[in-house]
Symmetry: C2
Subunit: 79 residues, 2 copies
Amino acid sequence: MIDYDGPVPRYVQLAELIRDRIRAGQYLPDRRIPSEPDLSSETGLARETVRRGLRLLVDEGTLVRVPGKGTYVSPDPPV
Amino acid sequence: MIDYDGPVPRYVQLAELIRDRIRAGQYLPDRRIPSEPDLSSETGLARETVRRGLRLLVDEGTLVRVPGKGTYVSPDPPV
DNA sequence: CTGTATTTGTTCGTATGTATT
DNA sequence: AAATACATACGAACAAATACA
């Protein structure tokens, strides 16, 4: 599903995947998304790669991470 | 030189070190700074930790990285 | 033109620390 | 006390872009 044949890094592809799921209503505002290990298991990506993708979404205001709790979709995500 | 006893992560400390050197005129605008391996050797930090610190400075507009060439101080760094 | 070296980019693995439940 | 989850840090490997002999 997520390859590195093309010019798009895997962590960017992961970010796009998460964005798609938010747009599709699969991940809802103020709700928690799967943990890093879960996303890592699901996608087969290394945890650090998952973290890079999530950071992109945190930086753009789409996600909010809470230490010890989890990663949440922002109340009003810019997607 | 760079410790992790305190609350300040090492990669943040590295970013501060680079900023200090720019302020001090040791690294000049539009000039290249040492490569990641060099900074890693000098500080004893892992290259990935160096990269994290440099990314902070890229994000804030202080540095510009050019693949295959090097990392440069911005023409007009915000420091 | 070809190959080599340098530098940044990406990816995976592992370990430890900190905060919350 | 234990499990869960994010944060930091180190190590290693290969790819891609650039420069140069």
